[in-house]
């Protein structure tokens, strides 16, 4: 756990290799490409109904479902948990199931003409009863969103450990909490968009699109159009953030490829912000009820949960809509030791925008639920919340959880102690007391949590996913001039992976990171891989990079040994040179590369020509961890929450680039704060989205995010070969609970409580009005 100074490139905050182009305005994003045709989608204005007629203006190319009879519906599959497969047509066929569903695609020479033409398309829909809320969809006699799904329950899971019933019965006290999280939109600043270009020479189509998963996008679209994958090339150029929203397949991209083939030309679509807010994937929208049984010392002995996830109108590819409820079921106990566990989880169809993963996937909500439970229990025992957590956090490793997950070595208690120390809890309590005397209401909230990262194949296979991600492959090639290129299946879009993978490779082969080009996001140029999501890329592609680089090192040493007449074991690689240890005999790597390609005869058949090595890594998975602390002030008159400070003590194992790790945590925390206090997609009773601009859905600005103080521990877990754990989602997972606990601590003198996110001024005022006490 000690933090030793870096001896090589790993561990240093080197500047990002991505930045020079982006900072100069020379990034290349999807919308920057010129196209012969622009596409605009006509979308449903009704949440449910039957399409009676589509009247198209004369002289305009309008594509409807009737044109797409040879295109299969998107039909992701899960083989467990009573999952009912449902299909999503690329354009709505006879029925519409949410406001914003694409009904027709209009093609024109430019964007403005396409918008004009789309406005002239008249769609007549016979409206039907819609269900918007998950509880309403579960009611007897509720309209079915899909005929084949009775009761609108598309997936359900139940787990109960043998210890549960007795543990609950023997508990000293039961503590309950019911938590609701509103609906979110991941809101990458670049909306979605695609550009499909037909190549008349080869008959291939190149789809350039804002995606986190280029290889899976190619697989999916080729399958839906009945093409060999080789007929399609998918490029993820610079992508302006994704946060999960760009990992699921948009039906629009399928249409673009189909259209490029039909027109034998280039077509492009740029989603506008309104489309993004109503029709790009949504997330969260869960309701969780929890009951914890505690013994007299405050030890959690039983935990039971019921999870209801509103999954919208369709199931997303590739994860399926089950990702939210099933992850909740498997990971709800978090970092707490409890053997008696029961959880039922359901995914419920409604006439709303489909749900898909968003940074944290389920865990921001389940973490918030169990952290609220811990604070309620602490209050019930009259204990500091941190003391109750101390009695329940896992402290022996490896630890096999009630749901069968193996927790590798981590620092749950240590990060919490670190956070308590740096926030100076005792001093805060004194200040809080003083403030209350001055009729000001400060609160502090803790959140201790685990962040499961680097999910390998077995982890995803446990869910029965037809598309089971897990592994990643990295190819490292040194060309005859000595230039090093690493080709990866992952697809970073802001995480700085070009830099961090280059750091890992640099330490193995003795070449500076700036001289290593990491190539990603092009199915013609990179090995098959799953992409960048689930805090997996540094762990998995990083592990594959290390393995491939080790192979390259072995080969370079062998070549150098031959050329320098020494044993390969005596070759040292550093600063771009191979030298015989303890001598001044040396050759630059470019000389080794030249020889490997152009002078093979010098090696007496003992090496293969060229320098190209490939490796795949598929880890069991690991758990990063952190403790977040928020300090807030609540104005009881207005319900306004002001964040005074945010602190996180985190442990992501070995840190490859501290600057980049801090950046990931900052960004996640900002999104978590927004989840807790600001952002919400609001539907009216008939299924219209009311929050259709960024002035209604409220992403935070620099004014709403307080200074964030970070502290690090580095547990060198053996669960990954780089000793690194993922860190992409933790900020978003921990922050909502820390903030909500702080708000509740602040309003505790009123006897008020709020268990709904976002905790808007309106909701806080409602909680205060409902409370009985006056402080």
């Amino acid at each position: 756990m000690s933090v030793a100074g870096p001896t090589g490139w790993v561990g240093r905050s080197i500047r990002r290799l991505e930045d020079p182009a982006l900072i100069a305005g020379r990034g290349r994003f999807t919308a920057d490409l010129p196209a012969a045709h622009r596409v605009r989608f006509v979308r449903s204005q009704h949440a449910a109904g039957r399409i009676a007629n589509i009247a198209t203006p004369p002289g305009v190319l309008v594509i409807t479902a009737a044109d797409l009879k040879d295109v299969k519906p998107i039909r992701p599959m899960l083989h467990k948990f009573d999952y009912v497969p449902i299909g999503q047509p690329v354009l709505a066929t006879d029925r519409v199931r949410f406001v914003g569903e694409a009904i027709a695609a209009v093609v024109a020479a430019d964007e403005a003409a396409a918008e004009d033409a789309a406005d002239a398309v008249e769609v007549e829909i016979a409206p039907a009863d819609a269900v918007i809320d998950a509880q309403a969809a579960l009611a007897d006699g509720a309209p079915r969103v899909h005929d084949e799904v009775a009761g609108n329950v598309i997936v359900k899971g139940l787990i109960e450990t043998p210890e549960f019933a007795a543990a609950r019965a023997g508990a000293d006290r039961l503590v309950r909490v019911a938590l609701r999280s509103g609906r979110q939109n991941a809101t990458p600043l670049e909306t979605r968009g695609g550009h499909a270009a037909y190549d008349p020479t080869s008959g291939r189509v190149t789809l350039t699109c804002a995606t986190q998963t280029p290889h899976l996008t190619r697989t999916a679209i080729a399958d839906l159009l009945g093409l060999p994958e080789a007929q399609l090339r998918v490029i993820a150029p610079d992508v302006g953030g994704g946060f999960g929203q760009k990992m699921s397949l948009p039906p629009e991209y399928v249409l673009l490829v189909w259209l490029a083939r039909k027109l034998q030309s280039s077509v492009a679509w740029s989603e506008d912000r309104r489309e993004n807010l109503i029709a790009a994937f949504h997330s969260r929208d869960q309701h969780i009820t929890l009951e914890g049984g505690f013994d007299r010392d405050g030890k959690l002995v039983s935990l039971s949960a019921d999870v209801t996830a509103n999954i919208g109108a369709y199931s997303c590819f590739p994860t399926t809509c089950a990702v939210e409820p099933l992850m909740a079921m498997a990971e709800l106990p978090g970092p707490y030791d409890v053997r008696g566990y029961r959880c039922s989880a359901r995914g419920v169809l409604t006439h709303t925008c489909p749900m898909a993963p968003y940074r944290g996937v389920s865990r921001p909500v389940i973490t918030c639920a169990i952290e609220r439970l811990m604070d309620r229990a602490a209050a019930s025992f009259g204990m500091e919340p941190s003391e109750l957590r101390r009695r329940n956090l896992i402290d022996r490793f490896p630890y096999v959880s009630a749901t069968g997950l193996t927790f590798d070595e981590a620092s749950y208690i240590e990060t919490m102690e670190l956070a308590v120390k740096h926030i100076d809890l005792a001093q805060f309590r004194a200040r809080q007391k003083q403030a209350r005397n001055e009729v000001r209401y400060l609160g502090i909230g803790f959140c201790t949590f685990s962040e499961r990262t680097g999910y390998g194949t077995p982890a995803f296979a446990a869910r029965g996913m037809e598309i089971t991600p897990g592994w990643e492959t990295v190819e490292i090639v040194i060309d005859p001039s000595g230039f090093v290129e690493a080709r990866i299946g992952s697809s970073p879009h802001g995480q700085g992976l070009r830099t961090t993978l280059a750091q890992i490779i640099a330490d193995e082969i003795g070449v500076e990171p700036r001289l290593i080009r990491v190539v990603h996001g092009d199915t013609d140029r990179t090995p098959y891989g799953f992409g960048t999501f689930a805090s997996r890329s540094l762990v998995i592609a990083g592990g594959a990079s290390l393995l491939a680089a080790r192979k390259v090192r072995v080969k370079l040493a062998k070549i150098a040994g031959h050329l320098l007449e020494a044993s390969a074991d005596d070759i040292v690689l550093e600063a771009g040179v191979a030298k015989v240890a303890g001598t001044d005999r040396a050759l630059p790597i470019e000389s080794l590369a030249r020889a490997a390609y152009h002078q093979l005869h010098r090696f007496r058949d003992e090496i293969e020509p060229g320098i190209a090595e490939s490796a795949t890594y598929d880890p069991p998975g690991t758990f990063a961890n952190a403790c977040h602390v928020a300090i807030v002030e609540v104005d009881p008159e207005t319900g306004r929450v002001t964040l005074e400070k945010f602190l996180a003590a985190e442990d992501a194992g070995r840190i490859i680039n501290p600057m980049i790790v801090d950046g990931q945590i900052h960004g996640g925390i900002a999104q978590g704060i927004a989840n807790a206090l600001l952002e919400e997609i609001v539907y009216d009773a008939t299924g219209n989205v009311l929050t259709t601009t960024l002035a209604d859905f409220l992403p935070p600005t620099a004014r709403e995010i307080p200074p964030i103080e970070l502290h690090h521990l580095e547990t060198m877990s053996e669960a990954t070969i780089t000793r690194a754990k993922g860190v992409g989602e933790g900020g978003a997972i921990g922050a909502p609970a820390a903030v909500l606990n702080a708000v509740n601590d602040a309003i505790a003198p009123f006897g008020a409580e709020i268990n709904e996110m976002p905790a808007t001024p309106r909701r806080i005022r409602a909680a205060l009005r409902a409370a009985e006490k006056r402080p």
């Binding site: 430019d110 809101t187 600043l189 740029s270 960024l694």
Partner: protein, 159 residues
């Protein structure tokens, strides 16, 4: 709505003769007609600030201004910040302090701050946060943007 206007847009000191409909926004003209795609479109309703450019020295949401309104004015975009290969102080500060991740909002922030620091070189740290609250970033949580901008302001003052 139809009928195109001939006008000259002066962007980064270069004149671009363009033909645009009256309804064409400045950002569309910069991107499509002048071919300068460093300026990005994030919302087209004036909230996110990704399309911020300088018009006669003032930061402007180029999605909320028509191209015809910008004729005869000096427009500056991210492509004009560097002098040859030499990045501006602010651009360098963004790289040194990790003020960007995906880089999509970055041109807008660079133009916003460039405009403000030129007009108010002595702006205070707290006022700078008010300025930065004009634009949205989804990746950084603003921590390193604030750091980068404060460092650049400091460096420019001591220059």
């Amino acid at each position: 709505m139809s009928g195109k206007h001939d006008l000259v847009l002066s962007v980064n000191g270069r004149d671009y003769a363009v033909q645009v409909e009256p309804r064409r926004t400045l950002v569309d003209a910069i991107r499509e007609d002048c071919g300068l795609t460093g300026t990005h479109i994030g919302c087209e309703h004036g909230v996110c600030g990704a399309c911020t450019v300088l018009v006669d020295g003032a930061p402007v949401r180029s999605c909320l201004m028509f191209a015809v309104q910008a004729a005869g004015k000096a427009i500056r975009t991210v492509e004009g910040l560097a002098t040859g290969d030499e990045l501006s102080v602010l651009q360098r500060a963004f790289m040194e302090h990790h003020g960007l991740q995906c880089g999509f909002c970055t041109p807008g922030f660079l133009m916003l701050v460039t405009g403000v620091l030129e007009r108010e070189p002595d702006i205070g740290d707290e006022e700078l946060i008010d300025v930065l609250a004009s634009n949205l970033c989804r990746c950084t949580g603003y921590q390193n943007i604030i750091k980068a901008v404060r460092a650049a302001a400091q460096e420019l003052r001591t220059k």
